[in-house]
Amino acid sequence: MELFDNLALGLATAASWQNLLFCFAGVMIGTLVGVLPGISPLTTVAMLLPFTFGLAPASAMIMLAGIFYGAQYGSSTAAILVNVPGETSSIVTCIDGYQMARQGRAGSALAIAAIASFFAGTVATVVIALLSLPLAALALKFTAVETVSLVILGLLGAVVLAHGSPAKAIAMIVVGVLVGLVGVDVNSGAPRMTFGIPDINDGVSFVPIAIGLFGIAEMIRNLEQPQDREFAGMRISNLMPTTADLAAAFPAMVRGTAVGCVLGVLPGGGAALPPFSAYALEKKIAADPSRFGKGAIEGVASPEAANNAGAQTSFVPMLTLGLPTNPLMALMIGALMIQGIQPGPQVMTKQPELFWGVIASMWIGNLMLIIINLPLIGIWVWLLRVPYNLLFPAIIVFCAIGAYSINNSLFDLWLMLGFGLLGYFFLKIGVEPAPFVLGFILGPMLEENFRRAMLIASGDIMVFVQRPISAVLLACSALLLAALLFPGIRRKREILQD
């Protein structure tokens, strides 16, 4: 019954007119950037993060979360109508969604995508609520030893599900941890790796790094390719799906939601991987797999449900353990820290209205999306025509203002520039920047707890395997590492990513 009390508290928080407004703003901005290719929710959240400083913590988190799942919503619109996925999460939706649009069923595809997302969002909200309590209760028992093992497991898990070479990803994590340690050492007061620059005494700020690595670098890559978009099925008549469509889509929706919820919670989870897995599953169990790629409604319903469920359930490790599983969750942690809240299991007990408010707002936000977006589809379609060569200078200006405002520091602007260049270098040599960001965010926490643990154990590294919970966490990490080296699993992972 505690669960219902909590959800009621959350609903009360999320339904205050102020938070409703921020939720609305979040999902609208999210849909907008989701529709527009070339600007990711990650860049948007990083850009807007400095401006949430003045908001109440719950309002800030509600709005930023809304941007994330709103973007999954918007990107499916672009995928179906223009065959250009707004975000990676809807690459699969292009396959069958665009075909449906070409057959004149754009309205039906859009409606099914919206309904599937709403259904998945509703289930995911309940899943988050159910999972959070036991996870946070477990995490509250953690000492420095268990925290170190948990962070290691989280970082390695992110590697398993990430793209590309695991060895490079692990190297990037270590680099991230190192850069995360820049600044004055908390224990001794000695400045470390600051090169006498006062701006980084408190650490290198995260927002310019994230904007540079992701926003700026991806923009340069986008501009390498000529921008051409072809509209299909532009006349959207009839947004109501037929009963036959609904009946065919519903089981797929349920399966997609399940896939999304499971993959979203895992380290490295988020909105990108679940739709691929869900689509593969649909194709495998379909009576006639040849329909896929030719406008099968299951091929829209299942991945759309999966990406929304994954987007939402990836909040679980962040909210309950303070462990970000993808770069966007790392930004959310940054947002909490700006508000002076140390992320971790204590957030749930000390700030229940924040915790449950954010969770309840996800359901309200999904409801808003379905009510508001279907009638507004015409506006989003119109926005798809905004040329990228006007869009990207505006994005640069907003990125620059965002990076500057986090500390009102010019240094951060140069930092953004430097990390933009670095991000482009990483893109070109095929190294994912996401593990770097996770290592950067978790670095200080990892070092502090490691030092504390070793102090308590008087320098005996064996303490990490002598404590039962820590030993289990490390055993899981070892299994993950072994899995990465095991050829069979490695091949499967590569197939999934293709």
Binding site: V175, L178, S188, M193, E224, L413
Partner: protein, 167 residues
């Protein structure tokens, strides 16, 4: 001489080599900048302990990638798109320079003009119109509505060359 040197690059995985060299350079910088910090013992770590351990790990990774790049199937270094790269980075740099000296309006206009050269036919007229529009929008949104303390216009009193570099 030079041609022979470049010839080697065609027989190895240049991407992997580049990453390996990046890691080695980073590790060296880390060693250099933490050389004055005390390391301490495992039971009582000094500020230099963990950075030093990480730097060793990064150095190790860098060495492994460098060696692996010689053994792997050759991969050329991917073509760089210099035009967008230079235009975007220059636009940000110009924004940073103008923002601190002439204010937000000039920074927006200048940034849009430079950024616009990233794509092939530069539409100067479009950019010249869009810059002021974006500047006005930013001024309204960030300064008027959000109340951020940005300088909007160049102040005649302040010499232009102040604060060109952030520190």
């Amino acid at each position: 001489m030079r041609k022979a040197g470049l010839g080697v690059l065609h027989r190895i995985d240049v991407k992997e080599l580049a990453f390996g060299l990046f890691l080695i350079a980073l590790a060296l910088v880390a060693f250099l900048s933490t050389s004055a910090l005390s390391v301490g013992t495992a039971a009582d770590m000094g500020p230099g302990y963990v950075p030093r351990v990480l730097a060793w790990a990064i150095l190790g990774f860098g060495a492994v990638f460098c060696i692996a790049s010689l053994l792997k199937a050759p991969q050329p270094f991917p073509a760089l798109a210099w035009r967008p790269l230079v235009a975007i980075l220059a636009a940000i740099a110009l924004f940073a320079l103008l923002f601190s000296t002439l204010g937000l309006i000039a920074a927006c206009v200048g940034c849009v003009l430079v950024a616009g050269t990233a794509t092939a036919p530069v539409r100067w007229r479009q950019l010249a119109l869009f810059g002021p529009v974006l500047a006005g929008f930013s001024a309204l949104l960030f300064v008027k509505s959000l109340g951020l303390p940005f300088k909007l216009w160049p102040s005649v009193l302040a010499p232009y060359m102040l604060q060109l570099w952030p520190w």
